[in-house]
């Protein structure tokens, strides 16, 4: 290469370190396009400089993943959203279920459940042989997003049919599947996860409940806390300690010694409560023996639950953003739609950034469920951490940007604020999951 011009000679005569720094600086100047300005199209051909420090770890292998919906996934989404539009009556929307007693709420949710069941939209992730659709993890995410975006009630929330059935499918024997799945599938049973205890700590450390062995089975005395739908559930997945490991049992509400209590919750559509166990007999038939290493099974279950909650969050976040954006176009103050003012439009832009970034993180986690299980913990932690912070902001900004009407029970936006409050601690808050990101990242 012959060079005549001083600038190239300059660059070539600098030490490598210096020239890289020079390039690095230049590179930084024109990083991403702003379409208002000249940067519009130039973000391509971007060249990154080498690292300045040699002491760093080698960059992790990153895989390219097609995060757009496949034709089958897009068709699934289309089918379900069309079905929802046609079949979710106003009277059954989550917004209409406020202020109902738990019984009335349950009835409404049951009605909705029947509608879903009749449409073949219950237990979508379950294998077809158990009455499901055999949906992939990605399709489940789509399913949850669509449900949430449509404002559907939680009759079939992620924790019930979405996780309990699959847990039995994964860990249960054939006999157990025959025994439990049909009633879960047709909605006569309501399943839930009873994982947390007084410590509110996720994972094996949070499980103090200990089984006393008896005749190949166990006796359980103690309590589980923060159990979703505790008051109405008929079937609980209960992990406990025994023989130095975590054991999973299916406990039915009809069993002697089983009690439950429901609490009023901030998000009225997300009821939680306690499960009390007073010398409850867990027969060998009720133990999900397929768990093998119970701690690992628990870890995976928690990740799946966090993915499911994150999917619900993104459906809700996106809907909150949409509602608020629409309001900003409609509401006139100072002679113009409030969305014209940057104090309004910029938080809306930030919502969009957060929703889309959460969605990318979630899609990848959902992809990992089946395709790359070894990446699931980190992918889940990132998605739930980011979405937890983002949804918290969106909930508050959504209400605030509505003005006083956002504070009314009549307007939907408050539902999303409450949902954000429910979602933050559910299956690990931002603090919890960012700490996981840190430890999984080796720092």
């Amino acid at each position: 290469m012959v060079s005549h011009h001083p600038s190239v000679n300059l660059a070539l005569h600098l030490t490598l370190h210096e020239s890289l720094r020079f390039i690095n600086l230049l590179d930084g100047i024109f990083l991403t396009p702003s379409e208002a300005c000249y940067y519009n199209r130039q973000a391509s051909l971007r060249l990154r400089a080498a690292p300045r420090a040699a002491s760093c770890r080698t960059t992790k292998e990153v895989s390219l993943v097609d995060l757009s919906l496949s034709p089958a996934e897009a068709a699934f989404q289309q089918e379900f959203s069309t079905w929802l539009k046609a079949n979710l009556p106003e009277s059954q929307r989550a917004a209409s279920l406020q202020g109902l007693s738990e019984e009335e709420g349950l009835k409404a949710r049951r009605d909705w459940e029947r509608t879903l069941g009749a449409g073949g939209w219950l237990g979508v992730s379950w294998p077809k042989e158990y009455g499901g659709r055999g949906a992939t993890a990605m399709e489940q995410v789509i399913y949850l997003e669509e449900l949430l975006a449509a404002g559907a009630p939680n009759a079939v929330d992620a924790l019930g049919r979405g996780l309990v059935g699959p847990t039995i499918i994964d860990l249960g024997s054939d006999e157990q599947k025959q025994r439990f799945l049909p009633s879960l599938a047709d909605g006569t049973a309501i399943g839930t996860l009873a994982l947390l205890e007084d410590s509110d700590l996720l994972g094996p450390d949070g499980i103090a409940l200990t089984g006393a062995e008896e005749g190949g089975g166990y006796r359980l005395t103690g309590a589980k806390r923060f159990v979703h739908d505790a008051g109405v559930a008929t079937l609980f997945i209960v992990p406990f300690r025994a023989g130095g490991d975590i054991v999973f049992a299916v406990v039915q509400s009809s069993t002697e010694g089983v009690g439950s209590r429901s609490h009023h919750t901030m998000d009225e559509t997300k009821r939680m409560g306690d499960l009390t166990l007073d010398n409850v007999l867990v027969t060998p038939d009720d133990v999900l023996a397929g768990a093998g290493d119970g701690a690992s099974a628990l870890a995976r279950l928690l990740d799946l639950a966090a993915v499911a909650v994150t999917a619900e969050m993104i459906g809700a976040m996106d809907r909150a953003r949409e509602i608020t954006t629409q309001y900003a176009k409609d509401r006139i103050q100072f002679g113009a739609p409030i969305g014209k003012y940057q104090g309004v439009k910029h938080p809306l832009a930030e919502m969009y950034v957060d929703v889309e970034t959460s969605r990318s993180l979630l899609y990848y986690a959902a992809w990992c469920v089946q395709e790359k299980p070894q990446d699931l913990p980190l992918a889940t932690a990132r998605a739930k951490a980011y979405a937890s912070e983002a949804f918290t902001r969106i909930g508050i900004d959504g209400v605030q940007l509505h003005g006083a009407i956002g504070f009314t029970a009549e307007y939907d936006i408050q539902l999303y604020l409450k949902r954000s409050k429910w979602a933050l601690p559910a299956f690990g808050d931002a603090e919890f999951h960012y700490e996981r990101v840190a430890s999984l990242g080796g720092y």
Partner: protein, 387 residues
């Protein structure tokens, strides 16, 4: 949802990897003519201007291969493929799309060969974000344009041989985007004066550029007279996923983590401090979010859907990280952060941090400010009224 690379693409990835391995060993990096050698070799491979037409020395490559090339190079910590950054990033692509045959022949090979630098004369003292209102005047006089006016913030103006310049040839248009004319100007033309500006970090990469009766031959008009705005916003089929940028950020995170492990802060190792851990984890998560956003953009592009304002999402994340990394390092280093070029006590190249901390405006302001990105998202994607 998974996209597998085709066998051809896999083979290309292997080729790039092998090439990087062979040419980027620690010994090779230390050898005297390393950079010049490197540039020559990647040029021979036709990896510079990877998607440019082969007729002008480009590689004629596709988007997916381009991603692979950039990703692998970034992962290998490779030097750039060419030194003429602005030439490669937008001057070349603009010439490919709008240039005459003569302009293509004259300029494109030189850009690919890193022969000289181009600079970009867009911003003016009165018009930065509101670029389309620019006032630098060009008047047609026979076979020449005569330019009078001023540009500012022109990066590497003093080292450049050519400038891509936006002027106004018509001051009476209804729409400010009309009447803008794009000219290619030789920097040693009589009447040009470059005055470097020192920035707060001590560097003088950008400059003011003054034009007094500067004569530019008409053959250096790029695109049509009065239609220069289109030249600046033209959309060649670029790969815009930013995947290689992410590889750079991953390394910056790794360096910051390394710093945290080696620095004592408020009586304990910084990496043991929950607030620091959370900030590092958040940076990690945002980088991963950018990577995955980039993959979603990429799949859109591969399917032939136009990509527009979505890239503002990553630009906002990028701005956050530019400030966050510097401030995080500063906080960990405590008082020692104030010594520029201080003795290295941490085992990490500590004296780079204080400089880096002052460099963020390059990324945050230079590519269109965060507020402008938010306007773009709000107005173009969300459909909110313009203000």
């Amino acid at each position: 949802m998974d996209f597998k690379l085709t066998p051809d693409e896999e083979a290309f990835r292997d080729e790039v990897r092998a090439f990087a391995k062979e040419n980027l060993s620690p010994e090779a990096r230390k050898s005297p003519g390393f950079l010049a050698n490197w540039l020559k070799k990647v040029r021979e491979k036709r990896w510079v201007g990877f998607n440019w037409p082969e007729a002008y020395g480009g590689g004629g490559g596709g988007i997916m291969e381009q991603v692979i090339l950039k990703e692998e190079m970034a992962k290998a910590g490779a030097p750039p493929l060419g030194l003429c950054l602005m030439g490669l990033q937008w001057v070349g692509p603009a010439i490919i799309e709008y240039g005459t045959e003569e302009q293509k022949q004259k300029f494109l090979p030189d850009i690919l060969d890193s022969k000289y630098q181009w600079c970009t004369g867009y911003s003016e003292p009165g018009f930065g974000s509101d670029l389309a209102s620019l006032q630098c005047k060009a008047v047609r006089d026979g076979d020449e344009y005569v330019i009078n006016g001023q540009k500012i913030w022109t990066s590497i103006a003093s080292w450049s041989k050519w400038m891509i310049l936006l002027t106004r040839t018509d001051f009476n248009t209804a729409d400010k985007h009309d009447g803008i004319t794009c000219l290619l100007v030789e920097m040693d033309s009589p009447g040009i004066e470059v005055r470097p500006i020192k920035n707060m970090a001590g560097g003088s990469l950008f400059a003011e550029v003054f034009f007094e009766n500067v004569r530019v031959p008409v053959e250096n008009l790029l695109g049509d007279e009065g239609k220069g705005w289109a030249v600046t916003v033209s959309a060649l089929a670029h790969e815009r996923s930013g995947i290689s940028e992410v590889a750079g950020l991953v390394r910056q995170l790794e360096k910051t983590v390394e710093l945290a492990k080696h620095t004592r802060h408020n009586g304990r190792r910084a990496s043991e401090q929950p607030s620091i851990r959370r900030r590092l984890a958040k940076a990690d998560t945002i980088i991963e979010g950018m990577r995955l956003n980039g993959q979603r953009f990429l799949t859109k592009q591969l399917k032939g859907e136009p990509l527009s304002s979505e890239t503002s999402i990553n630009k906002l994340h990028r701005a956050f990280l530019a400030i966050e990394f510097g401030d995080l390092a500063l906080e960990m280093l405590g008082n020692a952060s104030q010594y520029l070029g201080s003795e290295d006590t941490s085992g990490v190249d500590q004296n780079l941090w204080p400089n880096g901390v002052l460099d963020w405006p390059t990324v945050v302001i230079g590519g269109g400010t965060p507020n402008i990105q938010r306007n773009i998202i709000a107005e173009r994607i969300l459909g909110l009224p313009k203000d």
